[in-house]
Amino acid sequence: MTPRMVSTVALIVALAALPKVLWGADTGRIQFENRQKGSGINFVLDNGTLPDKPMIDGIPGGVALLDYDNDGYLDIFFTNGASLPGLAKEGDKFSNRLYHNNHDGTFTDVTGRAGLRGEGYSVGAAAADYDNDGRTDLYVTGFNGNFLYHNNGDGTFTDVTAKAGVPGVSSAGKKLWGISAAWLDYDNDGKLDLFVANYLDWSFATSRVCGSPGKRLSCSPTLYKGEPNILYHNNGNGTFTDVSEDMGISRHVGKGMGVAIADYDDDGWMDIFVANDNDRNFLFKNRGGKTFDELGVESFVAYTESGLPVSSMGVDFRDWNNDGKPSLIITALGGETYPLFRNEGNGFFSYESYKAGIGLRSFKMSGWGAGIQDFDNDGYKDLFTANSHVNENADLDGQQHYRQANAVFRNLHDGTFQDMSDDAGPGMQIRAAHRGCAFGDLNHDGKIDVVVSAIGSPAELLYNTSTGGNHWILIKTVGVKSNRDGIGTRIKMTTASGLVQYNHVTTAGSYASSNDPRVHFGLGADTLIKEIELKWPSGIIQVLHNVRADQFLTVNEE
């Protein structure tokens, strides 16, 4: 062996060890395993499609992960479609579903007992404890009905929509087509308010037919007018007031699909991002809880770097590069790429899909659900998208596919991502008409799992089986002065090795779905957290020191 060869071998050995030394994290593989079979979950999303493929049939499929019975484990709620054109849940196949987590990998369908079968053509779900009674409630959006279900604490829910005044209708009395919803306390008064993203002014009476007979395609949303979004203020007595107009929300008419919340400018007030389909996206900046300014154009997130809209569907709004500034990923249709906007912290976002390495990879993907989550617990958040084209007949175009596999992009710690989908296990190779997905730890192993709904095929329970043995923590916040769920709380985490990460409490994000309210952090090789700083919506800043890893930590506001 020549000296040159020796040094080369030594270099390779050194490089192989480098990631662990630098990041203090085992760079194991991101893996998912679909454990739907035998789980007791047999939910199949039924969109009630018709031969003419009306706009509505491509849109459903929200998922919510919520612990409705406070047993510490996440249960699963799926929204479902309805018969068309009747828009009624005729028969069980259109029922929404609630599955109770039995803690052993199996689930029990408790829909009937819970009273969550639903009505009309359901789309999205948003879970949170809006009345601060310690029990998670559920809001369901839909085409012809939005519903607020109050959790009675005994395994049942009561429809309180009318009493609460959150039916999802405009000030003119028109029911708007609700897609996603988000719970947030926009005025930091300790009570969760409700934002509803609405889509198109569409009906069967105005429905257009696209494509040719037998080869119908979903029409472009540009053929229809958009609808305003709604913001409901929580009055604290079980009722809400529609403040959309007063708060500057309803004057902006878009084609809302996904919604996510974050305090993107760290001013202590939660802001709202709405992904609009083929229209400019909205970034509602919260002005001290008094009003919202829509700053999508000013912040450079309205359009891609080409100055054009994409078919924005799902969205997540979290800090993926550990700089404390929540950034955005948005899913879109094939040929558009998934926009990735990095928050620069100066009021501007930069479009970084190509720079981050997901541009060319996502060009052929069409996506709905989206999440910024640390799947390998290495301390850096990765990306997940639930994929499928909107068109059932998309395959008529040789470049598009209706049924697609989901995608996961691993964070390489330098602002770039690597598409790991092909190597992420058989669970990630399932080609289906995926729609909404929700993120959370279903089996208490400290890894973020994904539940994905799919039109015409069984929902997928993608358990995270990533290797590497990295450490983690999940934090449940319990507000006292703040809203009880602690939604909006910003958490800064400093591990023993010095890695600093940020996240915030929210159930919003993805597409029409609702995530685990607990905040997850991957800790890499660290078994000890030096400091956890919680900035509550009330303004209280709480600091914990020397917290051990690998635990479910409940933090009460104090």
Partner: protein
């Protein structure tokens, strides 16, 4: 005078007599010359024609190929004279009409090209050269179905016609059927490696199907042969520059976008693309200059006002010019996004 001559030519319906005695014995060489001209191998064609014109001084087909050669070499007047000479004496030859029609097409005299292509197909509906030209003109008129039929027929008759492959590729490209487009552009580029347009289109469609290495290779081959002439592609550097930006090769992208603005300065898209790159490079002054040039261009090149306003709003915001940033932000908000096709 010439116009009268052309009218007479189009009015003539006498059957064209096959080249008889004057060309006898030169058929194989003439065929090779024709192929050489088709693939832009001009030196080979020129040398062969020189020798043939000595041996076969009365062979009319030599005149036709001399016309094609002169056209390819940019000697326009000479080419026109030779075409007139040939078609005046051989008014029934569909190939003469077709090549003359292509000459007019390249001179942007679309009326004459249209008339001659129609006459050529009329004379001989099985002449690939006539079918290709007519098919191309149908495409230019927006009659893609009719154009596709003729091009497919031409390819059946002569699968080795690179122009037919290229034109058919453009139909699939327009229809966003990238896989089929790749098939035809690959054939076109293989049959005529001097055709920079074919390499460019091949690269664009290879990118769509996800073959990024193939895309890179196609661009490289196109750049090697992209010279002035009928196969020149003014947007090759533009497209390659965009591709390199997507692959995060920003310096390479800049090199090619710099060339793109030199070769097509009248087109908004090239300035727009370079301005976008300037933004990524955080060269905001240059971005401003390029974006303003894009704004001033009348030839859009596919870039609409909304895109310019959005870019200018970002440029001026980055530069701290709040008044202009607001102006373009307002314009961005007021300008509705494009209405795309009826279906997704």
């Amino acid at each position: 005078m010439r116009a009268v001559s052309l009218s007479l030519l189009l009015a003539a319906f006498t059957a064209w007599p096959a080249f008889a005695e004057p060309c006898k014995g030169a058929e194989a060489q003439l065929s090779q010359v024709s192929k050489a001209l088709t693939v832009n191998a001009l030196d080979i064609a020129e040398n062969a024609l020189r020798a043939l014109s000595v041996s076969y001084p009365d062979c009319p087909e030599i005149v036709l190929h001399q016309a094609r050669l002169a056209q390819a070499k940019g000697r326009i007047s000479e080419a026109a004279g030779l075409y007139y000479r040939y078609t005046d004496t051989n008014p029934g030859d569909s190939r003469g009409l077709a090549y003359f029609g292509r000459f007019f097409l390249e001179q942007r005299d679309y009326m004459k090209a249209d008339a001659l292509s129609a006459a050529a197909v009329d004379k001989n509906p099985d002449d690939p050269a006539a079918l290709v030209l007519r098919g191309q003109i149908y495409l230019m008129k927006g009659q893609s179905s009719a154009g596709q039929n003729l091009l497919e027929k031409a390819i059946k008759l002569d699968p080795d016609d690179p122009e037919a492959q290229f034109q058919l590729g453009t139909i699939y490209d327009k229809a966003k059927a990238a896989a089929q487009a790749v098939e035809h552009f690959r054939k076109a580029a293989t049959l005529n490696p001097h055709d920079a347009r074919a390499w460019d289109y091949l690269a664009l469609n290879l990118e769509v199907v996800g073959d990024l290495d193939g895309t890179e290779q196609a661009y490289q081959k196109g750049l090697q042969v992209n010279q002035a002439g009928r196969y020149h592609d003014a947007f090759l550097d533009y497209n390659y520059g965009r591709f390199l930006a997507k692959r995060n090769d920003l310096s390479g992208s800049k090199r090619h976008l710099d060339r793109a603005v030199e070769s097509a300065p009248q087109v908004r898209a090239v300035w727009f693309e370079r301005a976008k790159l300037d933004m990524r490079l955080q060269n905001y002054q240059q971005a401003r200059a390029d974006a303003e040039k894009a704004h001033a261009c009348t030839q859009q090149g596919g870039v609409i006002d909304l895109q310019i306003y959005s870019l200018l709003s970002q440029v001026y915001a980055r530069l701290g010019d709040t008044a202009l940033a607001k102006k373009y932000t307002d314009l961005t908000r007021e300008t509705p996004p494009p209405v795309r096709g009826e279906q997704r």
